[in-house]
Symmetry: D3
């Protein structure tokens, strides 16, 4: 019943977005959630969406289907007013082995075009498309908590640097692998990793030598903010963090994500100006009064009910 209401609501405002409501569909725990073939979508708790990279037999490597499914998935999440936070993880033994080289070999290794300029034009479209696959995570105003276990290789690093909060297991390792296939990491790692961790020397070393980084260095360098003993405890931890986010005012939470990202790419004074302009409307929310009242009454944010956003 609840789903029916949701569908109706979504339907009525779904003016220019894909109508496929896959994200909210019931998912069988055993595999990808149709029509997706690489992603499994579940709703472990109120307002929380769990997206799982689901090609365990291929070590969750990223094939052609994956690149467009991610975009569809996060566009739907952005539109889904029930969802306030996303947990992202990988099914099976590792988080992801990165690019499925065999699957996309044609695109990259035998590009189309009559001369080098026309091939270049074609390659630019390919790279831009792949870049958008991860940028869609940033454009989605709901925070994304990513939980990494085992290997996180190549495009996997591009992926997690576009997420908001990074967690990993004790056995996780990370590798900026692109050099080993003869290219500069072009879908986000070189752009975001230096803004994600503080040590420039470490960033350069990782990107220029393709060496592995293990969980302890990932923690001390700030790539992840927490390390868990195993996958189960990590997922539990991710859901707990997600729960803390989900129970708070969505107006405040999503405004926080948007302004944190804005600040990354602007001077402090530009950031302050944008923030003040943003809050011209956002401070007019009822959530402010509700939250302030709860705070004065020493209640938890979890005791407050906020309207959908």
């Amino acid at each position: 019943m609840y789903c029916g209401v949701r569908a109706a609501v979504l339907g009525s405002r779904d003016l220019w977005f894909p109508t496929l409501n896959t994200v909210r569909a019931m998912s069988s725990s055993g595999g990808p959630t149709p029509p997706f073939t690489t992603l499994s979508i579940t709703h472990p708790a109120n307002h929380i969406t769990h997206v799982e990279l689901h090609r365990p037999e291929k070590r969750n490597s990223m094939n052609k289907a994956y690149w467009s499914e991610m975009v569809d998935c996060f566009n739907q999440i952005a539109e889904d007013s029930e969802c306030r936070v996303v947990v992202f993880s990988g099914a099976g033994k590792v988080f992801t082995a990165g690019l499925d080289l065999m699957d996309i070999a044609g695109d990259l290794l035998q590009p189309k075009g009559d001369d080098a300029a026309r091939i270049a034009w074609y390659l630019r479209a390919i790279v831009s498309k792949y870049q958008k696959t991860f940028s869609v995570i940033e454009k989605c105003p709901k925070p994304v908590v990513v939980a990494v276990h085992g290997a996180c290789v190549g495009a996997g690093v591009d992926l997690i640097t576009a997420c908001d909060i990074r967690l990993c297991t004790q056995d996780a390792w990370f590798q900026v692998k692109e050099l080993d296939i003869g290219l500069a990491a072009d879908v986000g790692t070189l752009q975001r990793l230096p803004k994600v961790i503080g040590s420039r020397s470490l960033v350069n070393e990782l990107a220029l030598t393709a060496r592995k980084m293990y969980s302890d260095e990932a923690k001390s360098s700030g790539l992840v903010s927490r390390v868990f003993p195993d996958k189960d405890s990590m997922i539990a931890g991710a859901l707990e963090i997600a729960g803390e986010i989900a129970c708070r005012s969505p107006v405040a939470v999503q405004g926080t994500k948007i302004n944190l990202l804005y600040s990354r790419d602007h001077s402090v004074s530009e950031g302050l100006d944008y923030m003040a302009t943003w809050n011209m409307s956002m401070l007019q929310t009822q959530d402010l009064m509700k939250s302030a009242q709860a705070a004065l009454e020493k209640k938890s944010p979890k005791d407050v009910t906020f309207s959908k956003l």
Copy 2:
């Protein structure tokens, strides 16, 4: 006598600044320095000004008076050629509990205006005013060393991220609390915190979950550069750092602060160009010769006397 000379000097150049010379007045140790009601000002050593947030009975929460007193105080400090460095701390049991919600509730919760646009206009002016309260710390060319003990909550985090050097006690904790009253932190935390500490994942976690961060994590993440066992040792440490700054050429020190801030918000090549332009005049200071000579003679900077700036 010394104060008389100072007043005369200040008087003669005080063309367009408030004439109230509160900052240099003798302050009774027992409370705020009049005309201030929330700040106590003392001069613990040569060239060092100590500003104390002083509403201990309200856990140093920030009321309406505070917002304008900060601006007056730091504008005076900027003008005070005797002062070369500031130590900022909180009186009583905690550094600050943040916004005094009861005091400013009217402004935020019952804003004025005939329609949503006019209310928005009003809110923008409020937020801009609050933002300026902390930006005034950055605009003051004298370095500010902030020393935190106990709680540093909400607007307290906005405040300390605008300071130059951060210290804390073992028992200190920090909390980006704004989400809990239903708003995105809009007076500096979202803009400055990501440029103050290296781990983006941690910044996001703090801002999106409102969890507390304790002193050890504050140190390992780089929010503070030193942790002290208790408040007394911290104040002593802060004064020692301040002493190292105060004894050096004010031309060099203030140029360093200004250019460090400029670099934060510009590319390296823009920063180098600005620096070269800045030093067109600054390298013509006598301090250079005095300092170089002292260095060649193996003297300490403390043995050199620099003109006022």
Copy 3:
């Protein structure tokens, strides 16, 4: 014989660069490589150039000759298609004591010019020239691994922040010393250090108090990515890292350096756009196919031979 081939090749494309091929000359291990007087150049392994700051009797302090030799040296390295990575270290007991104050005293302390404006003009040219000395490291597309032992003072910090990967020995210490000679660090430290390490509070403390930082803090703050017990093991470690870089596709390696630097100074979305444009041509390299094939065949990058770049 091998050198002869190289010289011929270089000669034929050496259209507008200095013809002096000093960088590839055999160097006697005992001192600077002529015509340089402050730098020693060797080639410890295939594709690796080792540049040593070589004025050990003056603690490798930087004199007038040094400033222009660095530019010549790195311009040649940039042109040398045999070289794919650089290791930079200091001869003798310390890495560098910084500026040779006696040698350049005339320039800075007795600048030329009829009035303050004309002196300023002269000083700007001096500072710009010194800035270029270190910027040339960034402009060289080959990665530079710097290995620091003993002292790294003043201009030494400016130098290492312009390098890509920083290593040090257990006994190394770093000091932003400029304040002590009465000036704001104007050849790179204030611009690059904040983008090199994550803790803003620490950067400010170092720059504003001129205190020493030892190797453990250099590691925990991220200034260096590795610490070695002594100079010998560090040089070995540096060469190992350099070896990892040298064996990979130079198209990919140099594209990675260029885009990492671009990203530092631009927003993520600008960085992605530039990267996509860059890879329009770079993805058309044969190295991609060679590397991909090696990867599929589980070979090491070291087993692949790449054309010169």
Copy 4:
């Protein structure tokens, strides 16, 4: 027959774009080209696409259908390798009366949302969607020549400022009308008009008083580059300009548009860097040799055949 070939080609590369090939379909001259209801598409000459705003009975005012049809239309044009240049004009008596206020009144005047913040969120999505409708013209790498007759009001001005070359008839007039419905022009005029014409005073006057500007002032201020006596001669002139563009190397033409737009929003030195990176691949086109040869043989560009792009 020719269309069949085209469809096949498009089909094979149409990986992630809408498959609807409306843009290349035969259009009946009497009305909109299905499935479009507001746009008519024809191909008056080789490589030239003519898009006509086609709601003459409503003075070509922009209704809901229009906003999404523009996006579909220009996305298809961007993909259509037969098309090298676009002519855009309006059917009937005027170019466009701007927004169809009655049709979209609901969206703007009765926006959805539980409180002012949620309404704001909804409005932002609406405005962003409308902004994209015109930005799609800029994102399309093929130059767009717009030809204005009669009235060009409100959103019409937003539209034409996103085009590359502007022409008009003697009887044309332009009006930044948004003020008259109580809002600041938010879909491009305020952002692009100041970068389109040279006189800031005139831009401000037009935007702040909503007065009409006639064709002579449009010409002298540089808003249009040519004025024609009537619509027929203007369309002929537009097609002639389009013909000059269509006969030249599409690699050079589209690279020119992309870099002109990049330059508008960046410093000269950023623009030069981007251009050099762009031409790393584009100078490897066969078009260069073909064109150079033709130039040496004193042939016209029209005598050269370039591959599709």
Copy 5:
């Protein structure tokens, strides 16, 4: 009576601004409006404030008093919710002869300070103060129409480039005079003039040769948008333009000014983002409904009454 109401309203919201309500005081037509000594303030029509530079006996040259009175005046105008537009002109025979060299000679020609660096510090404060005098015009969200007759010299050009709409008489002339007193124009002309008129060659010629530009060239270059035969007709024209602005929604008008200025200094895509964020609240104004209704009923904006802003 009406004034009494205004004063009450202003009093109640006048939290952190100077309480001096000079701007709204009745002014005798014969001279400056006390407490101002260089400016005369009148209210020729509803919502219109007329500011006159009033030192006719000194050819309206700018003395020390002027620099601070401008700031007070425009800060009050920014706060005055009755005022929706400003007309700025000069009393007597010319608009302004620029800087009153005799009055400020001491500041510039005999600056204070113990060495060149300290003098530099002092000069920077002076220049910044003068810059703010004109920037205050831009920061005031109400549009400013400036009307120039006779001479507009030196700082006069700095002044008018900060205004929104520029008009002049047939006998007006303009001169970037700073070179002739040995300095580069440092309070706005070099920064704003190139963004105000389209011909870079002309800007450079004016600034580098200090030649006079007469009204016809001012019009054809776009510096002014209209030329009037004499001062009386110009003032009438200025008031007419001001009337067109004053009768429209102040929410829309002031949002237009703010976004036009934002666009000048940002890329188109940044400008669009800011605009969408701005309109999140502004589109919720009642003015939109009122204006739309009037438009549908073919009424003039002058027939609509808007709330104060």
Copy 6:
């Protein structure tokens, strides 16, 4: 004798610049000034250098020698303290026919490299080198007045957009010709032309159709600021303008050029900040007092003698 003094002076400060003092040598009027082969250098009046593009038998087309001679020439001019302003023109019947396609064909049409990526690398170096040839005009702080007669084609347009003041004869025409050889104009036109003239539509039309623009449109669009009947009167006019510049304070003139260029590429507020920092030293020039005194005494700037810069 005077030259001897100059040479001595230059010699003593010529630390890191080419020692070739060609720029100040006597030039025979009949041809290029050795060692230049494409440029003739004369000194028609005090402080004025006249550079003539001198390959009249090849219509002043730009060959390989030209590209490096321009850099040497303007680097020398930048260093030559006697020179305060440059006039640039073309010998023979036309200003320039642009690129000497035959001479540089090898570089562009048969670029070196083992694969497309390595060719790209080579091409980038070529394009960057050509870009620097014109950027050197902007980097030279002395204003450059360019005088165009007859044809100004292709690279000629790149050249003149880098100059400060543009003049032309009645018979001059301009053509952005690059499209016709199959490439996007990559050495400055696409970057600078839109910032040089106000009409975006015209810029696009010129760049996208390669049509000729004649002198009247060059004047009305603002590309040139003056048109002269013939070459003789234009050169006389150019020298007169140059004379107006040469007689003024070189501190003020060169600061004006530098800040005008800075403003082009920055926001107004960045520009004001840079200007204030620049003038910290520049306002300490004696020229200010000299000029102010002359102004008060109603003397012409020509009666004042300024020190060299």
